[in-house]
Every structure is written in structure tokens, then in C-alpha cells.
Symmetry: C2
Amino acid sequence: MKQHTQVGETSWDRKNPRDVRRAARSMGYTGYTAGLAPGHVQANICILPKAWAEDFLLFCQRNPKPCPLLSRSDVGSPRLPSLADDLDIRTDIPRYHIFRDGKFVEEVTDISAYWQDDLVTFALGCSFSFEEALQEAGIPLRFLSNNNVAGVYVSNLPTEPAGAFAAPLVVTMRSFRPSDAIRAIQITSRFPNVHGAPVHIGNPGTIGVDLNNRYQNVGDGTVADGEIPLFWACGLTPQFAVMSAKPSLCITHAPSSMLVTDLRNASLAVL
Amino acid sequence: MKQHTQVGETSWDRKNPRDVRRAARSMGYTGYTAGLAPGHVQANICILPKAWAEDFLLFCQRNPKPCPLLSRSDVGSPRLPSLADDLDIRTDIPRYHIFRDGKFVEEVTDISAYWQDDLVTFALGCSFSFEEALQEAGIPLRFLSNNNVAGVYVSNLPTEPAGAFAAPLVVTMRSFRPSDAIRAIQITSRFPNVHGAPVHIGNPGTIGVDLNNRYQNVGDGTVADGEIPLFWACGLTPQFAVMSAKPSLCITHAPSSMLVTDLRNASLAVL
């Protein structure tokens, strides 16, 4: 069980990634992570038994745009030292989702009770990192000012399966004025570890997307007059693959409640 | 006057930029330069009296996308040593156009008779260079297989004037499947000295372009089903600016008859 706030530990610095992890670990923080520790990489997490981990690693290797692997733990280790030296994956995420045989079981705030010596943790990049780069370049992301996220869609684009892991490509849509669309392609191309360049531009139907039919109604699907939609590979793709593989156990972060790392977003830029 | 082919000088290597210049200089070659000296930079040329050259340099500095300056000569010098050590701008282009007070006067194959001690030569990058990079990346340029060029349009996008030099932005259109469009933006972004990234994507009307209304019917204006048009700044823009400034004398290359340089296209990539 997580410890709750100690006497004398009533405050934490929302801008400090170490404090965010400490708040999740021992101060009862169970909220969203958007806007916390600005400038730092937040990661999608998928934890699997070793028996499933090898094929999942292969799925990531074969599909780097939806599954940009930042770090994979040693078998049985709750540490990801390349992301933060104090990190304990069992406690440092505000909320977790537990899946058994591909089915959602429960949401928890600590997975110590589920930990096994054969578990392997995968940390995958997330579009929060490139959205920060877009904002710093002065490119408007309308949905952010409405406290929303990018629209999420299941496309008809394929991914390459690995063992039991298979999924359609899930995509996120962001729309821009044409000159900003060109700039957004340039900027996100610099960040291959957080989905990189878009996979599609323009007509949504070309990739089997109806903008009015968002996956679980998640995010903003509007395209304003004079704007053009861009579509990026989405980190929900590996979650679809895990559901199809039906591993005996799978633990993920809860949506919008990510692992906050010490890595700087800017450090992910390849140029 | 140019010398014509000498005895023993009946052949030249179309792949060698020095030979191409020698053919134009002294072997009577007056044809197009497309396809000659593959892999090497071909340049747009504009020659102006010193009294006009300062403002033209400023126009280039203020509008680098349509006017990517590769080299400017010393006043009165016919040499451009950074482009080729044997280069003589008076003879090394197959055909030239002469303008007086902004009006076309004649086409010639040698400008020695027009040379003055106050002339300044500007060499500007050309889209041939990035088209080669697109082809090497396997991105089809349909118009090339039809021995055509990209469609040319006068847009309603502004440029920033300098002195008497003012022009609308002239653009070229190339259309691609969406995934190739994204790749084309990435590739051309690496070549800022040859127009760089597109200035517009998608709806032509947004920038005042009607695809059926090409400038002087130049190039291919078709967009196939499922394709999206991209628009790049075009080297005809500075020619429009020169016409509006009406310099006492202006000498340019004739269309499609460019200066062939020793620079490698690949050397222009910024990354």
C-alpha cells in the first residue's frame, strides 16, 4: 500500500518530476499528469510477464511510430534507471489499470500487491512531448485551451504483428492552418521517440477515419474552416495489441495518468 | 562571340559540369540544362548594374524562400569562384535573356558584348536540386516522366519589397499521395538554399491559386485522385521583382537553360 502524506510533507512542487513521483508514491496524489513537470517526458507504461514480453518488444521494434520504446526494465526489476534514478514503477504512477487475459479488472493506485519476479516494464513515448514543442513554436493546439486532448480514431492502416500481438493503427488527429501544418510536420519529425512525423495528412477517409466517430468519444475531432487535419500514430495502438494477445496479466497507466520522468522533452529531439 | 566546336573537340561529357560549361562556352551548345551534370547544382542567374544590386541583395535577404542566394560576384567580375573555379558568367550559360528598363530585348548565347565594369551577378538556388533528392527517396514526380516541369502559379502571398524591387510570390505546385507529401516536406526542409519547405499545402484557393490558370501555361497543373498539392516558392519571383524595378539593364539565364555549377546537390542539405 502507498503511504499517505506525512506530517511535514503537505506540499510538493508540481514543476519538479521527482516531486510528482513522490506525490504519487507517498502523498496520495491520484490525479492527471498533464501540465505537471513541464518540459519533462511523460511515458505510457505497459507491464507484462516475461513470457509475453519478448513478443511485445518485437511488436514495438516492428511498429516504432505507434510504439516508440524509451526504456525496457530488467526482468523482475521495478526500476527504469535511464528515466529517473529514484523511480519505482510499482508506486510512482498516480493510477494504474489491471488487465487479466486481456480484460480490464480494476483501477488501483499502487501495484505492489500485483508485483511478480517475472514482470517486465515497457515505457513508451507520448505525444505530450511533441505537443510541448509545437506550443513553444507558437503553433496553436485548440483542444488544449479547452482542456481536451487530440481526437482519437481507429484507422484502417495496418501494423506488423509479432506473435499474438496485433492491432490496427490507432491515430490522433490535430488540425492546423496550412502553414502551421507544414511547420508541425517539421517539428514532430525531430521527435521519432514520441511518435515522430504524422502518418497521414488531409482526407480522413483515405485511412478509414470518420472524424465524427472518435474512439470512445476521446478528444477533439473538429477541423475549423481553412484547416487541414494531420494524423499521428497513437500510443493506444500497443494497448489494442495487448488486448488482442490476452496475456495472463498486464498492467498499464490509467489514461492521462502517466509516468513522469526526469528526461527533458528537448533531449528527445534528434536534431 | 563564342567559339564554336574546334577540330578534336567534337564530344563532351554530359555528366560532367565542367564539360557542360565548356560546351556552352566554346562548343555551341545552346540547349536545356535539365538532366545535364546530374547530382550538381544548377542556378538561376540575375545580373544587374551595381546601382540596382544593393536593393536586389536586400530583396533576396528579405525573401529567402523564393530567392535563395547561393553566390554574389564581386562588382565587375564575371567569376563565381564558390560555384566553380573555371566559371565565366559571360559565356557559360547556353542562352541568356537581355532586359532593358524591365522589358525583354533579345535572347543571346554570349553576353560578352553586354558586359560592363559595374555588373554584379547573383546565383540563386533552383528546385532541380530538391527534385533530385525527392526522386532519390523514391517519391514520384509525374511531370518529369512526361518531360514537363512543375506547374507555375502567381499566388496572392506577399513578399517583402526592397527599394524598387517588389513582387507577388510565384509558386510551383507538385502533388503527392499523403504519405509522400509528408516525406516531401521533410526532404525539402533539408534544402533551404533551394527553396526549402513548401509554403502551402492543400486548398489552392487559400493562396489565390486556380490550378487551371498556370503562369504562361508553364508546367503540369494536374492533381490526381487521392493526391494533395504542395506549393513551393519559385525562382521566378525575383524575375517579377526585377521587371517591376525596371533596371536599365538586367541579364538572366533563359528559362530551363541554367548555370551548371560544380556544387553537389547533396552538399546543400543542412542535415
